[in-house]
């Protein structure tokens, strides 16, 4: 008996020549197709990359830029980016007793101008020491400082001090000295305490200085003995400048992003998950249960968020000076799920009536099979879109709460609290507000555009046509 076997060739059709042009493309799954369309959407793609960069900035940033965000550099308060960093090494600060004259004349009704103002030692950011010649008959002196030339209209600027002792002909200025040019004016006062008409002004250029010991603690040199007086060093580098307490802005933005993105991602994950479970249960069971569940959801929608946030803060026993991030998270999850629940319920109700569900049921599909195989995959687009839109909303809520002081506790930075602090000095040091504000805006915009792109990409009705 001979072996008889069939090969594929045996089943080949007897050739009937037909020349038909076929156009085909590889079959695309839902996800592949969505990805293709997302890639074609340039805005969404750019946003997607921005989101990835932000995540890297947050997670990997602090390793690369290993600067402690709580270290205060009181020599570099509110320094804008790109400031001159050269500093000279000087001796540690030694108190100064000032200069006193011994002449003691009778006070007069009118006094003249101070004749000459000198510097007792080179002016620096450590101290500016002024000495002037005594004015005949003066009852005292007033010292002013300006950062603009007072010459045109006599705007002498900041009233630094009033000296009531006519023998004191010196003044030491320590107030918030920065490396710049100051105009010091010294005005004598007469017997009645009135200022003289004439006065003298001295323009002083201060240079940035630092002591050797300070340079070592700041890590500018390995050993302070390597430095001698007059050497030039460069003070610590702050690429985005410093804030009002001399803390590095870049490091603070990175750590601040942790809080913002942590809340912004964790909270939506939790409340969207809650919403899915709740909404699908309501939608699938339907009837009275659905009614009751959804009325409860309506009730939760009506609860005021801020009030509950405060209540949670108290209920959690969050004491003064402790972070309010956990109650914020809980309040967000507890109060934000109904929107997702409604969406998912609507979707489920719709799908439940579809013909293929009926068919599947007739074929004997069980409930959990129906839910896992048909319902959830068909709602996943909606869910993902909700999620991406929830992220920027929550980031914004966090920023707002930290802005009003309900969020993180100092010294932990957060973008919102940084904005709140930056707004105080907005006119003089705009960088303290602009950087965190720009980051909040960028993040919120990126997530929104990404969500927009995802919605288009995941919408089954917009699937690529043949």
């Amino acid at each position: 008996m001979t072996e008889f076997s069939l090969t594929a060739a045996d089943f080949e059709r007897v050739s009937v020549e037909r020349r038909v042009q076929t156009i085909a493309r590889p079959s695309l799954s839902y996800w592949q197709d969505a990805w293709v369309r997302l890639k074609a959407n340039r805005r969404a793609l750019v946003s997607f990359y921005i989101v990835i960069v932000l995540l890297l900035f947050t997670v990997a940033g602090p390793w690369i830029w290993a600067v402690d965000p709580t270290v205060q550099d009181l020599d570099q308060l509110s320094t804008p980016p790109g400031a001159d960093r050269r500093a000279q090494i000087v001796q540690p600060y030694v108190p100064w007793n000032g200069v006193f004259t011994t002449i003691n004349e009778s006070l007069s009704d009118t006094v003249g101008a101070t004749t000459e103002i000198r510097l007792a030692q080179p002016a620096s950011t450590q101290t500016v020491r002024l000495v002037w010649d005594p004015v005949l008959g003066a009852s005292g002196y007033r010292v002013y400082r300006n950062v603009y030339d007072p010459a045109p209209d006599g705007a002498v600027g900041l009233p630094l001090a009033e000296i009531y002792d006519p023998r004191q002909v010196s003044y030491e200025d320590l107030l918030d000295l920065t490396p710049t040019r100051y105009w010091y004016s010294v005005i004598a006062t007469d017997r009645n305490g009135r200022e003289a008409e004439e006065y003298t002004t001295l323009a002083v250029d201060t240079i940035r200085v630092i002591t050797a010991a300070e340079a070592q603690t700041r890590g500018l040199v390995d050993l302070e003995t390597l430095l001698s007086l007059g050497d030039e060093v460069r003070v610590s580098f702050h690429p985005l400048g410093t804030d009002y307490l001399g803390r590095d802005m870049l490091a603070r933005l990175m750590y601040g992003a942790r809080v913002s993105l942590f809340i912004g991602i964790i909270a939506p994950l939790f409340f969207v998950l809650t919403g899915i479970l709740y909404g699908s249960a309501a939608g699938f069971i339907g009837g009275r249960v659905d009614q009751i569940l959804m009325r409860f959801a309506d009730f939760v929608v009506a609860l005021p968020f801020l009030l509950f946030m405060i209540l949670f803060k108290i209920a959690f026993g969050i004491g003064p000076g402790e972070s309010g991030v956990v109650p914020m998270l809980v309040a967000l999850v507890v109060l934000s799920w109904p929107a997702t629940a409604r969406l998912v319920r609507g979707q489920i109700l719709q799908i439940r009536e579809e013909a293929y569900i009926g068919a599947s049921q007739l074929l004997g599909a069980k409930t959990h099979y129906l839910i896992l195989r048909h319902m959830i995959p068909n709602t996943v687009g909606v869910i993902l879109v909700t999620l991406t839109f929830a992220v920027p909303t929550v980031i914004f809520v966090e920023a707002f709460l930290s802005f009003i002081g309900m969020g993180v506790a100092p010294p932990t930075p957060s973008w919102g609290s940084m904005c709140n602090e930056g707004i105080q000095t907005m006119l003089n040091h705009p960088h303290e507000l602009i950087f965190p504000a720009a980051l909040i805006s960028l993040t919120v915009l990126a997530f929104n555009l990404l969500g927009d792109g995802l919605r288009d990409a995941l919408d089954a009705r917009m699937r690529s046509r043949e």
């Binding site: 709580t70 205060q72 900041l158 004491g319 000076g321 100092p410 602090e421 105080q424 690529s464």
Partner: protein
């Protein structure tokens, strides 16, 4: 793969983005146009209300902004600086402060202070705003009312030098036991509890202002609550009080010294604590004075080339400790450790950054008078030498005594103003890096902070104390064990004795010695860490002259102010 997206979609996107660009441009233009229209419209309506200028020389009107409206204007219950400022304009006590901050006769024409009491002779022409004379009975009634336990006046203690006052206030004696008697309409007789060196200073305080009995009773508990619930005897009277929105003071034509008052109207249509908002109002010519500025506003003021003025507001700010035995801050070594690393000069020059603030060295500020000259020149404050290693040694001892393995965590109670927050973060970092002490910052609104302080719910607190009268006692008695404002409950027998001595003695040498000793005890016990003596920088319209700023009494004072047309 990219072929799978039909080209048509690309072109669609392109045309859509063109549309978007055009829409964007149109929206921007439309918005700009709207802004132009709105500003034009506001200029139109604005011209109708141009009387709201900061200064109107013709009508003698001055427009101001206040941080808040007074809670009420019943002088027996007033505690805050805004109430005291308004009361200083619409009321007058027996004595008042003049333009040089000297005490001068007010309603009292002359007076005599003895060891056991005082007599005041009232002037004949002092009038209430309804035309009736101000009499000695009005003072007697007001002081009785302030001390009555049911009034619950927070400032009742300032009347305690009067005979039996404390007993009446605590309810152990009836009100008529008070050592104050109106002999007739124009003579007021006062008995002291004990000899008193500074009674003149006291009677200028608002709690000592007169109140007319029939009017007070008529108001049925609403005295001072509204514009019609007050009678005025001061240089101005209030004519408008829209709560939270508008106050208007007009010259009181019944005031005995009306020649002195040169302004006709003080209009206060703005209430804001935001100094930037106030500065903007000033810039727009809406208000004539910004009575204090923050460090952040100085650059703008310099840029605008406005004239900057300064004055010391007399208050002393310090870190207060909680001496409750359950708190780590009750440990002397811990307090000493904190003291040894705190540099008030750095705080003033680097954090506060406002000229006029002096680094704190003592509870007693530099402006107080001693026996002959300034108190602080006669009794210099103890010097603190910063010493981080000694501080760490004290901290180690403190941890040993407290039975702790690591440095304690302390709650620092502060106000919720931006400045207070900065100082708190500075302290947090300072004590954290120098001593490893974890500071938890407890920021509270003003009222809540006071409540927490009164409940002793803090470890450390930033505390400011402004003088009620120009005598070192106003500061010294703050740390007396019986003082309700001694929130940390510092208690030291020798200190208490010294305060009692200063209260009862009339000899300036004994008194100043007592204050000198108090200054030493506070330093030795580290009862507080002085931070700064507050100075304030302000700007005013050059046309406005004669404004008086002061540490003690109503501030700012416009009763002597006048307007010059061309400065």
């Amino acid at each position: 793969m990219s072929n799978t997206i039909p080209n048509v979609s690309n072109s669609l996107t392109r045309s859509a983005s063109f549309q978007l660009v055009w829409l964007g441009i149109a929206a921007t233009l439309g918005f700009a146009l709207l802004m132009v229209l709105l500003s034009w419209a506001s200029a139109l309506t604005g011209s109708g209300t141009s009387t709201l200028n900061a200064i109107d020389a013709e009508s003698g009107t001055l427009t101001l902004q206040l941080s808040t409206e007074p809670p009420q204007l019943d002088s027996t219950r007033a505690t805050d600086s805004v109430s005291i400022m308004i009361l200083g304009h619409v009321m007058e006590g027996l004595l008042r402060f003049d333009a040089n901050n000297q005490l001068v006769p007010g309603v009292a024409e002359r007076w005599e202070i003895r060891e056991d009491g005082a007599t005041f002779w009232l002037r004949e022409d002092a009038r209430w705003s309804d035309g009736l004379p101000v009499t000695a009975h009005d003072f007697s009634f007001a002081w009785h009312a302030a001390l009555a336990p049911e009034t619950a006046s927070e400032y009742a203690f300032i009347l305690y030098p009067l005979k039996n006052a404390e007993a009446i206030n605590t309810g152990t004696l009836p009100g008529d036991a008070l050592g104050v008697h109106a002999i007739n309409d124009r003579v007021l007789e006062v008995e002291f509890e004990q000899p008193l060196a500074y009674f003149e200073e006291l009677v200028a305080f608002p709690t000592y202002n007169p109140i007319r009995e029939d009017f007070y009773r008529n108001r049925d508990g609403r005295y001072g609550a509204d514009v019609e619930d007050l009678l005025y005897n001061g240089p101005f009277e209030m004519t408008v009080w829209v709560h939270g929105a508008h106050l208007r003071l007009e010259k009181n034509t019944d005031y005995w010294d009306r020649e002195r008052v040169r302004l006709n109207v003080i209009d206060i249509p703005y209430f804001t604590t935001d100094t930037t908002a106030a500065l903007n109002l000033f810039k727009d010519g809406q208000i004539a004075i910004v009575d204090y500025l923050g460090a952040e506003q100085l650059d703008e003021v310099l840029r605008q080339r406005w004239e900057l003025l300064r004055f010391g507001d007399g208050s002393v700010w310090f870190l207060a400790f909680n001496f409750d035995s359950g708190r780590a801050t009750s440990n002397w070594h811990l307090r000493k450790a904190l003291q040894l690393v705190t540099d008030p000069s750095e705080l003033v020059n680097r954090i506060i950054k406002l000229p006029g603030n002096l680094p704190g060295k003592s509870l007693f500020p530099v402006w107080l008078q001693g026996v002959n000259g300034f108190f602080r020149q006669e009794y210099p404050a103890p010097q603190i030498a910063l010493d981080a290693s000694a501080a760490r040694e004290h901290l180690r001892l403190a941890m040993e005594e407290l039975g702790l393995d690591e440095p304690p965590s302390l709650a620092l109670l502060v106000d919720d103003t931006p400045g207070a927050g900065r100082q708190a973060e500075y302290f947090q970092n300072l004590y954290g890096t120098q001593l490893g002490i974890d500071i938890r910052i407890d920021r509270q609104i003003f009222k809540q902070r006071l409540a927490k302080m009164q409940n002793q719910d803090f470890d450390l607190a930033t505390y400011g104390w402004g003088p009620d009268f120009a005598d070192p006692l106003t500061f010294g008695e703050l740390f007396a064990s019986w003082n309700p404002n001694n929130n940390g409950r510092f208690s030291n027998q020798e200190y208490d004795q010294s305060v009692r001595l200063a209260q009862s003695s009339l000899d300036p040498h004994i008194r100043m010695n007592a204050f000198g000793r108090q200054q030493e005890i506070l330093f030795e016990e580290v009862a507080l860490i002085p931070n700064y003596e507050r100075g304030r920088v302000y700007i005013k319209d050059r046309r406005l002259q004669g404004v008086v700023r002061r540490a003690v009494g109503p501030d700012p004072d416009f009763t002597n102010a006048y307007i010059v047309e061309n400065p």
